[in-house]
Symmetry: D2
Subunit: 350 residues, 4 copies
């Protein structure tokens, strides 16, 4: 842990390359590239802490921080492409850093393992995404409030069992969705808060004997709840991914109800709304048609998000402590659930 050597991907130690089929199964840089910014931020905080504790020199830390900025900029700008042979984003960043700054780049892994690094990156990404979803929800809720106020006295049939029951206002109806989104918001805020513990310093599984300052890296990275309490748990915990994906799936379920209603309301039979062409498709065969494609997609989107929740819960089932490679599989469903909820919220009509 205390060595200045690269923590290494698999390539670091073995003479033999991965079997090609194995390499295909193992590859992750096509999805973990979205951790780039968080990986760099996490490493910069770690380097500064190492310097503050005298574990590396201040000059080394400055070189590392500047080098990481440059690596990040190269990848983001497209000046440099990720090398899939380096398997993942972490090895890509690390390898390029060492190319650029040499020996100090190797010292970055002092008192850090790939296991606590990945856990940190994923939490940073997940927390950031949860907060972005909260903003997107707030935007949607505001739009719903406005639209509801406009229709505070617009009468419409209220339904149970899709049978007309009592008269309600469209404003009241729309505010039902604002309520659902308010709960979704609450779940995301709770999940983000619960994820706000820093795994850095957990090492591969058992921490480190070096005098690191976990509180400092936690604070620098905005982990408001401080460092995680147990290193074995910290490197193998993906609860935050499952919890955020669940919140995303439920938000998609809510929007799917709105999607269904928009599909219904835009039928000839209901005839309550005429959707804008910017949300529909037509048919050359039947030029009178205006198909509510976007509302239908809103209705269909929960399916994949529910699948993501299943994947995330299933991955950790029956997994012995601590880190196991199976956990690599927890990234894609998390990203898909977040992306799906974002796409759906962006289409939420107000």
């Amino acid at each position: 842990m205390a060595t200045g050597k690269s923590s290494g991907g698999r390539g670091a130690r073995f003479a033999v390359a991965l079997d090609p089929a194995a390499a295909a199964l193992n590859a992750s840089s096509h999805f973990d590239n979205r951790l780039l910014n968080d990986d760099v931020r996490g490493s910069q905080a770690h380097a500064r802490m190492l310097a503050a504790r005298g574990l590396i020199s201040g000059a080394d830390a400055d070189t590392i921080v500047a080098g990481l900025d440059r690596v990040c900029q190269e990848f983001v700008s497209g000046a440099r492409e990720l090398d899939p042979a380096l398997e993942d984003i972490h090895m890509n960043v690390e390898t390029r850093l060492i190319e650029l700054i040499g020996e100090p780049g190797r010292r970055l892994h002092t008192a850090r393992s790939r296991n606590d690094q990945v856990a940190t990156d994923m939490r940073l990404y997940a927390r950031r995404s949860a907060l972005e979803l909260v903003s997107e929800i707030d935007r949607s809720r505001l739009a719903l409030y406005r639209r509801a106020r406009e229709h505070a006295t617009t009468l419409m049939p209220g339904y149970t069992h899709l049978q007309r029951a009592q008269v309600v206002t469209l404003g009241h109806h729309l505010m039902a969705y604002a309520e659902m989104l308010a709960r979704d918001r609450g779940r995301l805020v709770d999940a983000e808060r619960r994820a706000a513990e820093s795994p850095l310093g957990s090492g591969a599984l058992a921490g480190t004997g070096l005098p690191i300052d976990r509180a400092a890296t936690a604070a620098a990275l905005g982990f408001g709840a401080g460092p995680t309490h147990n290193s074995l748990d910290a490197v193998s915990d993906r609860d935050f991914a499952a919890e955020i994906a669940f919140a995303c799936a439920l938000a998609c379920v809510h929007l799917s109800r709105l999607g269904e209603e928009l599909v219904l309301w835009s039928t000839t039979e209901f005839g309550f709304v005429r959707l804008g062409e910017g949300y529909c498709s037509g048919s050359s065969l039947m030029p009178q048609k205006r198909n509510p494609d976007i509302a239908e997609l809103l209705r269909g989107k929960p399916a994949r998000a529910i699948g993501d929740v299943v994947a995330l819960l299933t991955i950790s089932k029956g997994l012995a402590l601590a880190y196991n490679k199976d956990l690599q599989e927890s990234q894609e469903p998390l990203y898909d659930a977040i992306d799906t909820a974002k796409l759906a919220l962006a289409c939420c009509p107000g």
Copy 2:
């Protein structure tokens, strides 16, 4: 809404009985009977509020409250069995109440619909169950702490990829599970808090014109967050069920990791533990065997709980507002997830 008549099951209005196949699909008293206590509590609070508001007489309220106590006692004691022909627990309670106390029993449905009644009952049940799970988790965590303290210096191999990595203590290892359970606790507490809004007064979908006191029933039933804000949402919202089931599923996933470890540790090859006979089965063919059945069941239990989460999310997908009968399907997966988590937690070794 203001009428004193029974809100009725389907039988209340139609001359024709349900087709037998339809009745089989429709029946719910074999599972919603667990709402008995909550149904009675909810109705008693409602009756007292009606009297306080002058919507029924104080004498009627007293008669209703006492009558409901008696109905409940009859069913709980087994003196009376539920009649499946009455479809659900609510009709069973109501019918028996009217048998016992006559006309005042009909007044119980003043300003209440089956839709807000069911939503209230389910929330009461779900919240209570969540808190029971919290207690069970606290008991498990305490047991883990104690055991961890005993083994604060017991050395064992720490694993990543199930390969021996660094030496840890058994105490440290056990505390990883205490951390997982602490997060599970947090999720249940959050879910319970979010569910603590009272749907009573939402009517079938559009509230009631009668001068009821929603804050009073909310307070009487311990809904700390007061009445729900939107009646259309309140009668069709089952988020609380999905959220609690998710928390249960994740807790089961955590315990399944412990289950896997106990299975591994009790193998000849690992040989770390010898499970007590009270948690094992034997084999007459191979008398040397001690099979870790309970640990295996702990490992297997998340499967059904994940299935329950899927069911709960899927039921509400694409459902137009407000109440739809599909929501009846949200009861069993909720109950199964709660039961499963309770059974698993009760077996959590400390």
Copy 3:
């Protein structure tokens, strides 16, 4: 394997009873009781084979067969209740058999283990259920054909995106469902055929050294594809459960589409059908309402069946060979999926 002793539940060997919480987790007689008939049939075939091979006497076999008939009759008639303390249906049958016929009852377990016995019972049950579902589907298809013929010239709007597209006939529309059910039928037939291999003789995991006749028991029990080929696989395979549950879930999905259409068609807005009172509920508050409860339940039922598929796939994930107790968890989701499909098919309007 060759001993005449009971293969025993856990109680057979250990002095210590299961811990109460463990017993609650372990109990299965409340669901595996539906294997009663298949357990008895399987044991009778086994006993007759043992006699034919001279492994037990013909008189013993006769006594066992008659005794099992009596045990079965006692439980089916309700003259005797299952004892939950005996954990499962198999121990209940075996214990009662030995009470009734004494020593010969113990010889039933010659060359058989609980593992191949349970696998056989479940396959018998699953195959039988699949064929019952096929019959139910055929009934539904016939009803659809008849109704379609009646409406061979009844015009209605054909929809895409729920927008009116081209005119079709109601007969053509109904026949779309007959097509879906024909595929469901095919899947069930394929699943039944694939399940028609007999695990009997696989022993606990490694077969038996006794000169049993696996082909004979396979034939006697209608396993058309003969004995299974690999004993380790045979005792740990629950593919048939997952495959049948999947076929059930997809059938429920098809019926849910019909459910949605019936809900739509019975709205005021569409007004295409007026559902019979035998399939609806009313409302005392809104006497004009006729709520399509059964159609809504048809729409909602796939949720649980999808959950069952998830449970069944998840249980076997990452399970080392051969039998593990986790597999006990594969019974309930299978039964639930079968029951759900049966209930839904029985309500399929023709």
Copy 4:
């Protein structure tokens, strides 16, 4: 249907472009590009049939067929990139075809709609993939047979409950996996056969009045079971996707069992195998380690495939006939399940 005009994406008719958020939700060319070959094949068969029936001229058909070859070659070679603004692969192909060959390109849509076209493309892709998986399974089974023969007398402990039970041979143990794969093969073959009906000619939902020859296109495209029977069903059926995904998920479950065993066997405690470096990763911190990454990924892969099955079943739940845009969501989970099974099978050790 009979017009020679483009069947059009949404852009064909509306003056207004999709709202940007809607366009993001709607985009599919980043995943449906894998239908390129099947789309071209399907269109070529359709064009030849139109000419044979005299619905277009032979010269037009030749021009279309050659043009489609060129379009395909341009996209495959990378000479031309897909334009995301054209939304999907079909519009990309069609637009480029018309650019290249002019008016005849527009005649390709005579008697065809996007709905039957997409259904045909997806079936072609799914069937081809199922057969590729069958080949991959056969390769794996052969490898298992060979390895099993080598180890026909290699003794090892047989396990139940992960407790040593009876001695078996490694050959026998490996053949258990060959059995599982044989069932997976059977499921894929059945699914492929069931999918071998051609939707071409179903039009948007109601067929076409033109004298097309559905049997001819079915035969040309290898749809051995001929044309589909019901047009409403044909354009809205995605059973084949769910069924193949299910078969993939179950195959992944089987391989995950092998993955778990390889993880166990390569532990210090079991010590049965030493995995080749080409399937492992190392650790610079702990140079003695050889982490079984590939076996762990095999163990983890079913999670996503189960999620895919959930998504596919959920998408069609409660969907009114006939085509709805929700069905676009059925592509990605199908592709993911197929890819996952292929990747896992390619790593299946023999």
